[in-house]
């Protein structure tokens, strides 16, 4: 046998991969780990979705019919935590794992073993978080923002929630380090930075944001922990602490975090639209600069989440202006996408439909975001259903639509099978109609004065809530189609060609469908 295996990342060569379940537990292969992330994310999407169904069922009509108010708060809190950290982020990491090496011409991720750890932390973190539902005093119920002093009233679940958040943070940081190491060091010859596909660029910037803000989140939740158990008073007014400071530190993390949830989505859409418009992406370099500007601005706008805490006017003005500025690079992106379509030769397969849905509906979320940026108006919008409508437009029809678009786009490459196009289109149209029935009326509710995070409401809000709930149930059911389509495509179907889409450009499409376990048997040639 080989005398010296100096390359520890590859020492499993001697044994071959483990069989059965152990293959997935011990795997260090980016395709296996990407698949694990994506399936985990799909599972969490349904768990978080089930919680949303409980919320919408309770809000179907005025009066309390199904759950008590405290359980309702547990549902809103865990719905958010699970969707953000369990569904959207792992989906993006899964896509990164699958696609980054293939897009830059690398055989695998740079740190395969760390890749394995960063995934396998997640099931434990989320088991722990979901497990708190069965604890004395219930699951955390203070909202995903876990503001003190309220969060300090959490029962036995408190330390478990903090620990779960730490684990999610560690997982994200390891994922980000891997992404950075891979993109910086493992590009094929000729793949210069300004030739990288936009999905790679947006992920590089996202990973950078993750590295910058994850210690802030870790520090913030640890200080909550010490406040509760070790008699510190970072955030307790009684001990000389400052509860508002928690909000500052949280949103210093939180605002870059919301861009962590959307930048890779921009990348995905920027891959898909040129393919189906059969035309090169318009303004590639301005896309890169716009992404970088958004990332930079994300560090100086955090306090727009807390205009109502009573900041000095100068502070409010600064954060208002800075927030409004984000509209400029975001606008550039939207204009570039539209210009890419302009004078293209468009077809409308499911990935393109979701990408177009993304552009329209994310832009609507962007408009409400601009309205929210205006501090005086925000005094009315803040913590109402208007905000709920806003962030669901950017997260559901933004981030999740992009993830679904990406899934339909690359699924044939991953599995070697075409999905069922008819069903895919049905899934798109059902989702798009119902998601608007679900979230559009929430704008009206917020403007009419309905606060968010309430389990029951005055009868004047009854009609729009009922419409929203009907939309919610229908949207939830439509997503079962997605699971069905994905699973049936994995199991079989029409064979996909290597190119899959006739307009597709990029190294991943030069590989066979499905690709070899180790990508790039041929040295990739970057044109």
């Amino acid at each position: 046998m080989s005398e010296a295996t100096t390359h520890d990342a590859h020492d499993h060569h001697d044994h071959g991969p483990a069989k059965g379940l152990m293959r997935w537990v011990t795997t260090t292969n980016h395709k296996d780990i990407g698949t694990l992330y994506l399936l985990f994310s799909l599972l969490m999407f349904f768990v978080g979705g089930a919680m949303a169904m409980v919320i919408r069922a309770e809000l179907f009509a005025p009066g309390m019919q199904i759950v008590d108010p405290y359980f309702f708060n547990q549902m809103t809190t865990n719905h958010a935590l699970i969707m953000i950290f369990g569904a959207v982020m792992p989906a993006f990491v899964g896509l990164a794992n699958w696609l980054l090496p293939m897009m830059i011409g690398a055989p695998d991720m740079a740190l395969p073993r760390m890749n394995n750890w960063s995934f396998w932390i997640l099931p434990f973190a989320f088991s722990m978080l979901i497990g708190t539902l069965f604890m004395d005093g219930g699951a955390p119920a203070a909202g995903w923002t876990i503001y003190p002093p309220l969060v300090l009233q959490t029962g036995d679940a408190f330390p478990f929630m903090i620990f779960a958040i730490h684990m999610m943070g560690i997982s994200s940081v390891m994922g980000a380090i891997n992404v950075i190491a891979t993109i910086l060091n493992m590009r094929a010859p000729g793949m210069t930075l300004m030739k990288m596909p936009l999905f790679v660029w947006t992920w590089l910037i996202t990973a950078y944001l993750l590295i910058a803000v994850m210690p802030v989140l870790a520090g913030a939740v640890t200080m909550l922990l010490t406040d509760k158990y070790f008699h510190t008073s970072f955030f307790t007014a009684a001990g000389g602490g400052d509860p508002v400071m928690y909000q500052h530190i949280f949103w210093f993390f939180g605002h870059p975090e919301v861009y962590i949830l959307i930048l890779p989505a921009f990348g995905i859409v920027s891959q898909i639209i040129p393919t189906f418009a059969r035309k090169q992406l318009f303004g590639y370099s301005s896309m890169v600069y716009a992404t970088a500007s958004i990332a930079f601005l994300s560090f100086i706008v955090w306090a727009h989440h807390m205009f109502t805490v009573g900041m000095p006017v100068a502070g409010e003005l600064f954060f208002m202006y800075a927030t409004m500025l984000i509209a400029v690079p975001t606008g550039v992106k939207v204009f570039n996408w539209v210009s890419t379509m302009w004078k293209g030769s468009m077809t409308f397969e499911t990935p393109m439909l979701f990408a177009l849905g993304f552009v329209v509906l994310f832009t609507i979320g962007g408009f409400s975001g601009l309205m929210l940026a205006i501090a005086p108006s925000d005094f009315q919008y803040h913590d109402t259903y208007f905000v709920v409508a806003h962030f669901h437009y950017v997260l559901v029809t933004g981030a999740i639509y992009a993830i679904m678009a990406g899934t339909y786009y690359w699924l044939p490459k991953w599995t070697g099978h075409m999905y069922n196009e008819t069903l895919g289109k049905w899934h798109f149209w059902l989702s798009t109609i119902t998601v608007n029935i679900l979230f559009f009326p929430q704008h009206f509710l917020g403007l009419a004065g309905m606060p968010r995070r309430i389990p029951d409401y005055s009868v004047q809000f009854a009609e729009f809530n009922m419409i929203s709930s009907i939309g919610g149930f229908a949207f939830g059911l439509s997503q079962l189609m997605f699971a069905y389509i994905v699973i049936s495509t994995i199991r079989g179907g029409k064979k996909a060609s290597d190119q899959v889409w006739d307009g597709a450009k990029g190294l991943e499409w030069t590989l066979p469908s499905p690709p070899p376990y180790h990508s790039f048997t041929e040295a990739p040639e970057v044109k």
Binding site: I249, Y517, T521
Partner: protein, 183 residues
């Protein structure tokens, strides 16, 4: 990437095998430095207003980032130099850095050394390029793309002779698809 250099002697050749690498040591160092500067500024900023618990997490994270990048750069800077001389073949492994010495050197007598290019133990993995003599074997170029391995194997095999080789394995034998396709 495989570079072939003739000399110094008349029948001498050197094969230099390197993995793809897209950023230098210095580039990585600059990157870590700039990330660390920002993360520590944020951490110190919060420490100044009394929220000092951000700083240790920033430290841990930057440590992890540094280790991760260091290992990556180290792997990307592996180099294998196969020197074929009049009477011996020397395989030197090390880190591709100015002034660094080979970490490990193996020498075979030229007359006895043979080249093998064979399937890996599992069909998922790429084919392996092996040099051996006197019952000792050493794998080279496991960081190379398959096409590079194949051409390197061909060049070395033609020069040194083949070992138990009936035919060159095809691409289909080297690295099976990610999912088994039953259809």
């Amino acid at each position: 990437m495989v570079t072939t250099l003739p000399g110094p002697g008349q029948d001498d050749y050197r094969f230099i095998l390197r993995p793809d690498r897209s950023l230098s040591w210095r580039g990585n160092l600059l990157f870590v430095g700039s990330v660390a500067a920002i993360s520590f500024s944020i951490g110190i900023g919060f420490a100044v207003i009394g929220l000092w618990l951000v700083l240790p997490f920033a430290g841990l994270e930057i440590g992890l980032l540094t280790i991760g990048l260091y290992l990556t750069v180290l792997r990307r800077h592996q180099v294998e130099v196969i020197s074929i001389r009049h009477d011996e073949v020397e395989i030197a492994r090390g880190v591709d850095r100015p002034g660094s010495q080979p970490r490990e050197t193996t020498t075979f007598p030229r007359a006895w050394v043979r080249v093998a290019y064979r399937r890996a133990e599992h069909p998922w993995y790429p084919c392996r390029l092996v040099l051996g003599a006197h019952g000792r074997e050493i794998e080279i170029g496991d960081f190379l793309h398959v096409a590079e391995r194949r051409s390197c194997a061909t060049a070395l095999g033609n020069m040194l002779g083949w070992r138990d080789m009936k035919s060159m394995p095809g691409d289909d034998d080297c690295g099976h698809r990610w999912v088994d396709d039953n259809n």
